[in-house]
């Protein structure tokens, strides 16, 4: 009898907490999203009218930011993957006894607040930093071109900030590959590129999936990089949600946007996992 009850007893406190402070808020968010302002009421007072057109309005009004969120997140994810894969490969196979040291170095930048690092990028890439004058001296960029307040800066900032989320899962799954299978591939007439395509990449797929999810999800909801490194022209959905809550006090629209973002991400994630077909994700 005891044995059957044990797991449920262990789960109870944690799940009660998650139910109250995760599931209920999401349900509440869904409820808020169909409310409308009470006629003649104060700022921030809303009543439930089941107005589903809130969603339609919110989407039409912010479709540009919507698109931008997903395009930026996708670009940052692809860039992070391209940068991280060789790095994770090097740590897994070429680092010898320094493997642990290098792993610590991957997460070490995290120990400095990400906001400080993002602002550091802003200053490094800004007009007073050393990068822009150098590039101008060599004529790589024109005098009127800036690096900050651009889409480039926002995507670069996101890539940088989420890079370890990509590198660590990639490392974990590349590190599990038996190096003998790579030798076997070479032995069986596959050159370096074919070995990568036919053996290394398929065997590291769980890491690629986990890494891309862990990068894409926070990137799609991010607004800090856009706020610090971007301009009004690079606003993402997160910036809109934030200002709807704090500046415009338009809770239903903010809720509708949040809910749409969450559902869109869940759908994408589900499709993605289906497509690449990995079972051992969680």
């Amino acid at each position: 009898m005891r044995k059957i009850r044990t797991p449920y007893l262990l789960l109870l406190p944690g799940f009660a907490f998650l139910f109250t402070f995760f599931i209920l808020p999401i349900i509440n968010l869904a409820q808020t999203s169909t409310q409308t302002r009470i006629p003649g009421g104060d700022t921030g007072q809303y009543e439930q009218t089941l107005r589903f057109t809130n969603y339609f309005d919110a989407f039409i009004e912010n479709r540009e930011q919507f698109t931008r969120s997903f395009v930026y997140a996708l670009l940052a994810t692809l860039l992070a993957l391209a940068i991280s894969y060789p790095l994770a490969y090097a740590i897994a196979f070429k680092s010898g006894k320094y493997k642990n040291v290098l792993l610590v170095l991957v997460i070490a930048p995290f120990f400095t607040s990400f906001l400080l690092r993002t602002i550091a990028w802003k200053q490094i890439l800004g007009e007073e930093g050393f990068v822009v004058p150098t590039l101008r001296t060599f004529g790589i960029i024109s005098d009127s071109t800036t690096l900050t307040s651009t889409s480039f800066a926002v995507v670069m900032g996101m890539t940088y900030n989420f890079l370890p989320f990509m590198t660590l899962p990639l490392f974990a799954s590349i590190d599990r590959i038996d190096p003998k299978t790579l030798e076997a591939s070479g032995d069986l007439y596959a050159n370096g590129i074919t070995t990568f395509r036919k053996v290394t990449l398929p065997l590291s797929m769980p890491g690629v999936v986990a890494g891309t999810l862990l990068t894409f999800i926070p990137a799609a909801g991010d607004y800090v990089n856009a706020a610090i490194l971007g301009s009004p022209n690079t606003k993402m959905l997160g910036n809109v949600i934030e200002s709807r809550y704090f500046r415009v006090v338009d809770y239903p629209t903010a809720a509708a946007l949040s809910f749409t973002l969450m559902v869109a991400i869940l759908i994408l994630v589900t499709l993605y996992i289906r497509k690449v077909g990995t079972e051992e994700l969680v």
Partner: protein
């Protein structure tokens, strides 16, 4: 060079091959020719350089010096995928994400061969596992994985097949069975096999020629019977089976034989089997060549008297005796349990005798225990 290398055929020649890692020399100035079509074994304990040699032949390690020829083609620096050489890896290294069929087809597809399906099916039949084609490697037993690894290599019809401790992961019974099958398959497909192992019994069962390696060099090379019956060094005498090595002095000649004085008792030893360089020598006799007799029984051949049975172990087909000699050495004797003679008892005073032609002579300045203390069960060389 690289285009032609994949078509290279012929004998494998290693010329003054050396591989060092910093101060450590794994393979030391090794020269060797492996004739086409032979089953060749590199035998030695962990760290003797046999696996490094194999990896250089496969192209997985780059030699520090020396060259590797296949027929007339120099393949020293060609990439593994440009060599007509395939390897059956230790622990197999099957691709876990591919089915058995795709594992075997891998090499054929890389080389753009047609009739992949036919070739794979044929080799699956050869290893008697056609029903497993659509499984994944993790669903197979160790013995099945071993056969698939073999099939994946031989389906390419390489000029040379390398086997790196291929049976190490199998249990004893399965290993015996696979030894016989490997030998049969080698005859069947007619490829050159180079087999690396620490297991002397495995090498002797399968190989036509064995090279015993020690500290990066070849101690002795020859047929299994040559190596066993006429070892040239104490290392070979002890590593291949067991030997009794008795310190002695060459005191004279008698036609084709030498007369050797072992602690005051004279025995004879064929000159052709003596590898001593001066008067000092070790006379070597395999334990099963000895005969034990009670003091009063007349015996022929070489005789050592004054023995005393110290220990008796009955192990079915034979009985093993430890016999203490007057000079304090304990000799090991295996007697077949086939003649109905009552076994000797502990404490019996006995003579030991043997056919002079079975004696071999080693250099007297050798370490008589060389090769006997290595732990052959340690598998990994890295």
């Amino acid at each position: 060079m690289t285009k032609a290398s994949i078509e290279a055929r012929g004998d494998l020649r290693l010329t003054r091959l050396t591989k060092s890692y910093g101060d450590f020399t794994a393979v030391d100035d090794l020269s060797l020719t492996i004739p086409k079509g032979s089953f060749f074994a590199l035998l030695g304990p962990s760290g003797c350089g046999k696996t490094t040699t194999l990896r250089m032949i496969a192209g997985l390690e780059e030699p520090t010096a020396g060259s590797i020829y296949l027929g007339e083609t120099d393949i020293t620096t060609t990439k593994p995928y440009q060599r007509p050489i395939n390897t059956v890896f230790q622990n197999y290294a099957l691709f876990p994400h591919l089915t058995i069929f795709e594992n075997i087809a891998f090499g054929l597809r890389r080389r753009g061969k047609s009739d992949v399906k036919e070739a794979v099916e044929k080799v699956l039949n050869l290893v008697e596992l056609p029903h497993l084609a659509q499984r994944k490697p993790t669903q197979l037993s160790g013995g099945q994985q071993q056969r698939i690894a073999l099939a994946r290599a031989i389906v390419n019809r390489p000029a040379l097949l390398l086997l790196d401790e291929p049976l190490g992961a199998l249990d004893l019974k399965l290993r015996r069975q696979m030894q016989i099958e490997l030998k049969w398959i080698q005859k069947e497909v007619g490829l050159t096999f180079v087999h690396v192992t620490h297991d002397q019994e495995e090498a002797m069962t399968m190989a036509d020629t064995i090279a015993v390696m020690n500290e990066g060099q070849i101690e002795q090379m020859g047929s299994p019977a040559d190596l066993y019956d006429n070892p040239e060094t104490a290392y070979v005498a002890n590593f291949l089976g067991q030997s009794n090595l008795i310190k002695g002095t060459i005191s004279g000649n008698d036609g084709d034989s030498q007369i050797v004085d072992l602690f005051g008792q004279k025995i004879s030893l064929p000159k052709s089997r003596s590898h001593a360089v001066d008067n000092s020598t070790y006379a070597g006799i395999r334990p099963e060549k000895f005969r034990i007799s009670l003091l009063e029984t007349p015996v022929k051949g070489n005789v050592l008297t004054g023995g005393r049975i110290e220990d008796v172990s009955y192990i079915g087909v034979s009985t093993q005796y430890q016999v203490e000699m007057p000079w304090g050495q304990e000799l090991m004797v295996f007697e077949q349990n086939d003649d109905g003679v009552a076994p000797f008892k502990k404490g019996d005073a006995v003579n030991i005798s043997w056919e002079p032609a079975f004696t071999f002579g080693l250099r007297g300045d050798e370490d008589a225990t060389a090769g006997s203390e290595v732990a052959p069960e340690v598998l990994d060389e890295e």
